[in-house]
Amino acid sequence: MTFFKNILSIVLIFGVISTTISQSTYCPEKMLLLQKYKTKAYENALGYVDTVLSQCPDQNQDPYFWHVCGFINLDIFKFIENKEAGSPTKSKAAECFIKSINLDVEKKYFDLNSKLLDYVSTFYYNDAVKILQKFDIKNQDNAISYYNSFKNLKGIANPDYDFNDKDLDFYFGIGMLYKMRYEKDKTNNKNLLDSCINYFNKSLEIDPDQYSANYNLGIMYHNLGVDIIMEELDIDADLEMVILMQEQAVNYFSKSLPFLKKVYQMKPQETSIVQGIAAVYYSLNDMEKHVEYMNILKGLESNSGE
């Protein structure tokens, strides 16, 4: 950030000189704003933004003015708000830098604006990841919103940036949060299942061989089938209902198998996968295959015990 500070000093000096010598852009309120900012009176400087815009309407079209506004907001975010997640000034800073980029036809501030946008985008990314790290299921929607902001800003700062790796991890992480929320209260959170599956599938669209999403979908689909019978099927249900719910359960069991088979190819020594496949075959009443995988499991377990 020292880099940004040094650059800003040069920019500020340039701004003051150009503001002083150029009669057409002379704006005393803007001078005051710059002075306040230079003395680190960030909030005072921010208070002058609206005054400048009302007294000197041409500043609205000045990329330098918006560039400085971006800095003011960014410093408030950093030094006054202590980089608080969800800070409106962080978003304001980004808006100012974008405005500056859009007005800057000569691309005088383009490189610096882009670097600053990129810098702001990392805060959004980190805040999104922090929610995943803490398993903060209450802030899951914020994680999605922060991540989208990260992508938006990063995409402007670096139009060629390849988001695939980050998308892959993020979609999987969000899928896991949905899964946790669902498992916390299966009855009331059933509506979250589609989102969970959707996010796992989104990460598989990027990399169909992603182990974690395949594994979790495999286990989840099987457990969903079991839950239909164990949690949802009432013991007083009439036989029509039993037939219907068995149908649904078998549908889930069948969906589970390809995912587990895929991860088995990746990690044939992983006992939990073999156990999962054996369970799915048991649930599908394919006893021959169930026994086959139970024998594989026994072999793996005896090898690991040796």
Binding site: Q133, D165, E183, V226, I243, F253
Partner: protein
């Protein structure tokens, strides 16, 4: 860059998630299969026109061969009734243990003992089996069969009626096959 640092955490998170995912054990799969069997057995009790002298006292459903099934059903169907009769679950470890019961389920593992079981029964018991082919056992009255991974049942109407057990029509309509 902070972003780079954080992504390492995210990878750690993924590994953590993998290691803590709830693994589908065969046990829940087994329990769900037994629960469906239990619901069927319970509905057999409710969908048979029992001779009037069978409709007083407790209604006993015997399980021969599968202790796990007995344990599960004895727990989740505890205090269930059919008509005014309380359902009581009983477990028999061997054919010689079998006592008078309204309905007897013989698990697949004990299929070879069917003829011995039949000799032990006194025609007062509705016999439910898990045979590959019901035609091999004329004594089975209801047989569990898996069709496309789903548990269904076959009715041996002639054998049942011979023993004065009649099925409600709506129930019979749901049978996979009737012989």
């Amino acid at each position: 860059m902070p972003g780079r640092f954080k992504i390492l955490f995210l990878f750690g998170l993924i590994i953590f998630f993998n290691s803590t995912s709830i693994i589908a054990q065969p046990d829940p799969a087994k329990a769900s299969r037994m629960k469906v069997q239990g619901i069927y057995l319970y509905s057999f009790a409710k969908n048979v026109y029992w001779p009037s002298n069978y409709t007083t006292g407790d209604f006993t459903i015997g399980i021969y061969g599968s202790k796990d099934l007995f344990n599960l059903l004895n727990t989740i169907f505890k205090d269930k009734v059919t008509g005014s009769q309380k359902i009581v679950w009983d477990f028999y470890e061997s054919a010689s243990d079998i006592k008078d019961c309204h309905l007897l389920f013989v698990s697949k593992e004990e299929t070879s003992m069917i003829s011995k079981v039949t000799k032990k029964l006194n025609q007062k018991t509705l016999l439910v089996t898990e045979l590959e082919d019901i035609s091999n056992s004329s004594s089975s009255m209801i047989n569990f069969v898996y069709v496309q991974s789903k548990l269904k049942f076959q009715l041996n109407k002639s054998e049942s009626e011979k023993n004065n057990f009649k099925f409600k029509q709506k129930f019979a309509d749901l049978a996979y096959s009737i012989i």
